[in-house]
């Protein structure tokens, strides 16, 4: 079955990849993956709770 890959998906914030399995002109299965990770979950661990907003606010700048 043919597979379509769109990577990168543009006009969004962040990095996204979509793969779709096509059968007779219909998408039968699809997978999406974000292709960037910074580990902010790990970076904020152990820090002063009053400062965490500085970090988590930077997850998305839009």
């Amino acid at each position: 079955m043919p597979k379509i890959v769109v990577d990168p998906i543009t006009r969004i914030e962040g990095h996204l990849r979509v793969e779709a399995q096509v059968d007779g002109g219909r998408v039968t299965k699809a997978w999406s993956s974000t292709t960037m990770w910074r580990g902010i979950e790990l970076i904020v661990r152990g820090r002063d709770p009053r400062e965490i907003w500085y970090f988590t606010q930077r997850i998305c700048g839009v």
């Binding site: 990168p8 006009r11 914030e13 292709t35 970076i43 009053r50 700048g61």
Partner: protein, 371 residues
Amino acid sequence: MASDLRPHIRDEDIAHQLARRGVSRRDFLRFCAVMTATLALPQHYVGRVAAAVAGAKKPVLIWLEFQDCCGNTESLLRANSPGVGEIVLDLLSIEYHETIMAAAGHQSEEARAAAIKEPGYLVVVEGSIPTKDNGVYCTIGGRSALDILQEVGKGAAAIISAGTCSAFGGIPAAAPNPTGAVSVQDVLPNANIINLPGCPMNVVNLTATVVHYLTFGQLPAVDQFRRPLFAYGARIHDNCERRGHFDAGQFVEEWGDEGHRQGWCLYKMGCKGPATFHNCPQAEWNDATSWPIGAGHGCVGCSEPNFWDTMMPAYGRLPNVPGFGAEATADQVGLIIAGAVGGAFALHGIAAAIRAKVNPLKKTETKVEGN
């Protein structure tokens, strides 16, 4: 740097493009005046800047996003002074920018490949580059950020690192740096790089850097962190609108107290202005309507390397910021200086002691050290 660094260009000059977009000559000259002032050039340079920008061909620009939050792109797209938004975008022929380009998938990757065929283009990088585990923590079109930057960087006339992540590693590089994130200059140490840190960068500084490039054919003068001096040559503290309160010993002691309502100095609330080099007090944000300290919160030091680790605790006071108040007497000032010098040189310390004996004063402290 010679004219061979002039970027690859498109045919129509900027003056014609702006006219076509309805940007008036008056708006354009006002823009050039703002840029001349931002670049700290004498006023008579306005004509030269205007002539250079109007006659320039649009440089080809490739904007790469890696471990980013899109905040610098937002800064670019939010430029909304009269006509300036158009001018910023029209100054550049943006051939590749994931967030704003129409193409997607392999078409977008082909656009990038086409744009780098002819060397001499400009590159803006937003976001850090992960190096751990072969760079798997950021891939675009199946290729790692590291791989893409190395390829695109080869033919670049200049690379502008927009924002603290691409300039210094930024938030992804904060301890414990889970992805091995590094800056552009770490990946390409010999490239012609200028850093415009800030979280995010201020678009005024990006525009001014491009205008400088078009006017003089080279990047502006930089400091030891490759930051342009016109924008990062002075501390926030030096030009802060609340500096008078610092000098007068008027500090916010608690959020929402009388001093906070009166707009007093935020130094004791953890403001990092005395240790941060940036032109926020003059350039401001959101079309120069406000800025963090103006809005009542201390500076976090976002334009400094590794500020996510070195400028914390965010609400902790910087130790031992030197300074004497405008309201201190000349005698107090003299004693403080003698004391400081005496600490380093015993001989001068003795001289200071003698002077103090001749003109005895009560032991004084700078007000900033009082808690």
